[in-house]
Symmetry: D2
Subunit: 257 residues, 4 copies
């Protein structure tokens, strides 16, 4: 693996507060928020892992990891956080080569995690009812160099799903219960359904709808993540904590008796 | 995708309590725990997604997903649960094509999740100091059809790591702090360190050791997973809950100034 | 304070598993579950704080504290646990001298905590629709030597409340929203309403009803209690954990504008 | 109970953000933070439970409850929050008439809860090593009309405890393990020890010290409180959450064998 930055490549700059900026080294001199006016080509040849100074600020220079891509994306809609992405990946058994459908695309955070997980041979199909969200997300996804694995569709998933034999369907929409019947039809046998909902009432409606179709392993989780602070004085849970993100409901398609 | 079970293939049988048994359809007639004496070849030609009767018990028949592989493995040592596996995958930015080292192998649960995530072009190297654990795990990993991606080594990771330029190193050992210096040396620049420890005292020692080396993004999390129960009466968190699994500490290698 | 057990008094026996038995030293020789045939008068004169042998078992001998009274009561209905009792006491600002109404009485666990808190000059009024629950609870309350502070009423609180100017009203019934109007009428200005409900749907209905009346400080909490285990190896949260007890909703009566 | 404010009494003003100000109606015209220049005597004769206007702001007028007293106190040191006070009250079996010792006094939040709980016949003794903390707390305690139940002592509790036969001892100091031996000596048989500590390392040292003395029922808890938000859309846990307050360790004195 090359130790220095190449031409026409993508890198991440990480400042001392762990703010992350993804930069395309083929880009033109431009004003970059948090960096100032800056020529990305000047990074070519610099050593990975070293701290460098741009303007009056110090940045670590690294190849972007999945987490860098997620943590640097520009938010428009509320995003699904890494803590929930991890649960989605494992509880939907997502792996390289699969075809996964998500709706809606939001800011592209879930899309990026999915594209990364199904690469190099799989594919993500992303529905959204708002063209501006699709456009905004695709900018984030291109910056993450994952656009190759993603196709988008301006469509309301509660009105129908065009694809079939899907490995996984993930819904991050206000009314997931309205897409449950379409999801059952579009999934392959053994495929996973997932919905992400902040409200208890959304979970109730979705679970009740799932029970009308041939699904097994219907489960709802909430995931509470606590950071631990270690200092010279000792260790304790962080006082800062996000109290809630959303409930994750999972189910798996089987055939009716 | 084939709708019926093929010869020389692997399937999962799921009973009504969601107990899962992975079966190789090339296997011989044998007594299988929870099923009885049974000829795996009799499954060939049966339709996926249907419930079938073996002995007096009903089983769903499916292609095994990652979760099936994890939930059917035979435990010897304590395993890392799916909830923590998801966090490891996302916080270490694990993806297809990477080379990941883990120590120790335990019962192979983490190994299976890692092999599944780095496939088809990546590789998992697994250290353990106990030959019986390696043997037991490899049985589980073979059953999951993932042995191709895994190589094992009878070695104490606190005594040194032979490989270098690793993408990720994950430690599930009682004294992870003793392997921190070896981990720093063996990781690529930008690579991720992770340790899983049940005790607060282990976290403290590990974080203090990490601070002696060039690591950034040092963070410790604990993940509390709650299941929600939905019934006709309403919804509530489950009374049954696992109160703790372990703390996850993450760090990322950079170069010294 | 006397150092030895007196006649006509009440003591607690605590075995090595922290099982607690309250014994009236004026009682007759009887078979006591967990102790065997035993004459309570034989305890008179024994020193508090010492471990003594009855049958083949060892017991600590102490004056019963509130916690002893709560932990030794015989359960019939589900009880409110000490963790939630603490929150009720503080969030309803319960104190000596107040008049508090509760419904239903259940097994008397909340009644005991309330009686203890309002003593020596206050009073607890307890409604229940089942005479057998009232009888069973009063046995527990008498054993705790708190019957003096408690009066019971065989009445459905959703049908009306006879008292007025109450300091606090606490509902542990399946449909607390149906008693909200009666509660508003029966409370003094500034008095506290509290309901304990396991289900999210119960909370929603209750909060929506509370919003129709002049209440301020309407809040719902759930309290998650984790035990920490300290051993020679280090410290960690306990693996055993009760995942849920119930949601506590609080509100405070004011006058309409 | 009087429906209107009396002379020489104490009331609470609650604004629409639930900020609370305790006012002595015998006080002189003064500038009150959050209210402006204001004559407390002007409140005499006003009806409790009504909203009134002072300056351009609206306030609910009520008799102060325990919670009002706790939520209006002026903080200097970090305070123990109501969620933990509730657990302390119940797990130490605190009741009217007891003698309770606390150290240190901090801003008087625990002192107020204890004084309220042991009234009308009990007593709180409060140690602190800083005279300014004692003075500041006593102002808060006087405002809460509970000074009658509290005596303070400028003394380091790790150097010794003058009192004996205490019902309860509660430590909120950085090194509670250093007072464990004094606590054992000063407690009555069956009396409760409690320490509040933010750090895991403090808990470990305290529990190890407790094990050297005759204590039973040694337990450590952490209490996680989540607020639930109910709106027209549905219900969910609040996004805002305090991730940690401290660990509570409890123990109970018995006699050595």
């Amino acid at each position: 693996m090359k130790k220095v930055v190449e031409k026409n490549y993508v890198v991440v700059l990480i400042d001392s507060n762990l703010k992350k900026i993804i930069v395309d080294t083929a880009g033109k001199t431009d004003k970059i928020k948090g960096v100032g006016v800056f020529d990305p080509k000047s990074l070519v040849g610099r050593e990975y892992g070293k701290q460098l100074e741009i303007g009056n600020k110090k940045f670590w220079l690294l190849r972007p990891s999945l987490l860098d891509k997620l943590q640097s994306l520009k938010r428009r809609a509320q995003i699904i956080l890494p803590r929930d992405l991890g649960h989605i990946l494992i509880n939907c058994s997502i792996e390289s080569g699969q075809t996964v459908l998500e709706a809606g695309i939001g800011s592209g955070s879930l899309t990026i995690a999915l594209a990364n997980a199904v690469a190099p041979d799989g594919r993500v199909i992303s529905y959204d009812i708002r063209e501006d969200f699709i456009e905004h997300s695709m900018k984030n996804i291109k910056k993450a160099w994952l656009a190759h694995y993603v196709s988008t569709k301006l469509k309301d998933v509660t009105k129908g799903i065009d694809e079939n034999d899907l490995d996984v369907i993930i819904l991050d929409i206000p009314n997931p219960w309205k897409a449950v019947n379409h999801a059952w039809n579009a999934l392959k046998v053994g495929g996973y359904f997932c919905s992400f909902s902040p409200l208890t009432t959304q979970v109730e409606s979705t679970v009740k709808e799932l029970e009308k179709y041939s699904f097994i392993e219907v489960k709802t989780f909430e995931n509470i993540q606590r950071e631990m602070v270690v200092s010279n004085h000792g260790m304790r849970p962080s006082f800062d904590m996000l109290g809630h993100t959303g409930y994750l409901t999972f189910a798996r398609k089987i055939l009716p008796p």
